[in-house]
Symmetry: C2
Subunit: 244 residues, 2 copies
């Protein structure tokens, strides 16, 4: 049995997220269908984690076991041939004892948002929109409060089954080009909607609706009401998953 690691890119707009669900178009289901078409076998694919409906990936990682002896280079070509254009596999490796979810050490999500001005139609499903102008320095400064090991209960959607809310954020990088801001958030793991709430909170601080004290309160009390809005999924990209 071979263990295969794949790195892939997808545009989330027309998927009901990563995870397989009856009768719905999902990324996991498309990959498993392609593997079935290729091998004739039902192969279960594990992702590094789920992504929600409308969320994109630049560097999602998945793994599966297969018996088929197809060479790696051909496996990449064959899968890309069998997959729709909104999923592309960029890398295929063979890696013993690898599991995309359990082996993951660090993830980086990127959020791209236009602040103020008029929303663009062409990229309406690739860039989030925040209708106000924001202050870069205020957001930079507020982001530092979130870096480190914290209880992120206040930055998590209530629809979660998770029990442990401690996560570590290693870094939040913010860059700006005109009205477009990019937030790169790197951590050891993320709660449900956590990146979208972190970005919404930083934007609310940048706009002057929230201040650093609100972030401190949200971290200290774990109460969602002190944090900012949940940004829409279309601006969110799973950028990179690290394993070593």
């Amino acid at each position: 049995m071979r263990t295969i690691k794949i790195t892939l890119e997808y545009k989330g707009t027309n998927f009901f997220g990563w995870q397989k669900q009856d009768g719905k178009r999902t990324v996991q289901a498309e990959i498993e269908r392609a593997l079935f078409d290729l091998t004739g076998q039902n192969i279960e694919v594990a992702g590094s984690g789920r992504t929600d409906r409308g969320v994109h990936a630049l560097g999602q990682v998945a793994s599966f076991e297969m018996e088929h002896s197809i060479p790696l280079a051909n496996l990449k070509i064959a899968l890309n041939d069998l997959l729709p254009p909104d999923i592309r596999i960029s890398k295929v490796e063979e890696k013993a004892d690898f599991h995309a979810r359990f082996s993951a050490k660090q993830k980086t999500y990127q959020y791209i948002v236009q602040t103020g001005g008029q929303r663009k139609a062409i990229k309406s499903d690739l860039v989030g929109f925040y209708p106000f102008e924001v202050d870069f320095q205020k957001m930079q400064s507020a982001a530092k409060l979130l870096v480190g090991k914290h209880n992120f209960h206040g930055f998590c959607s209530s629809e979660t089954a998770v029990k442990n809310f401690e996560r570590e954020i290693f870094d939040i990088k913010i860059s700006k080009r005109g009205r477009i801001f990019k937030f790169d958030v790197t951590g050891n793991g993320f709660l449900y909607n956590m990146v979208r709430i972190i970005v919404g909170t930083l934007l609310d601080v940048g706009r002057g609706k929230l201040c650093e004290d609100d972030i401190k309160k949200a971290l200290a009390t774990g109460e969602r009401k002190y944090a900012g809005i949940t940004m829409e999924p279309c601006g969110l990209y799973l950028k990179q998953v690290k394993y070593v």
Copy 2:
């Protein structure tokens, strides 16, 4: 009665083209619905021309007549509020005796294509794909043959009701950045699929599958078989319509 000129941008992916069709989501139908919601009246909107399913617009122009006295600036805001995010109106003007189709003098279409390499998932519906590497100089040189007044019957899809195939192309600009080529084709009007066939022909020349003689034959005989492939709609943008 006021005559209104609007300039708009749309992402064509989720529309069955510009033109109203029963039960289908089209750009014209969405704008007419928004105008009805705003005014309570059935207002017919004329576009500068149709765009096909999957084709985008950066600067489509449309016109309509309305009695409603709403100020122009508010009309723009109200319509954008009532329209879906994949249609955005960038400009609203009041212009007596203006008709978006009949007054049009010149149109520029842009085609964006990735040549060779692996297709990207994220922009799979915004950039066309041509699976071969192409020679920039060969395409530049071949493009000159198409500029001018010609019978473009050989560069037109057979599904057309048009009788006169003479059109004038004023300019074809090609630019390159890595594997991405942009073709800006400006003319006084275009036949069905004409830009997509022109770009497919130039790419086929750039790849070495066709040569300049094939273009000359297609122009001289009007036979479609001498021209190149029809590129997919997703890379095509109606960039600008000029009226003076």
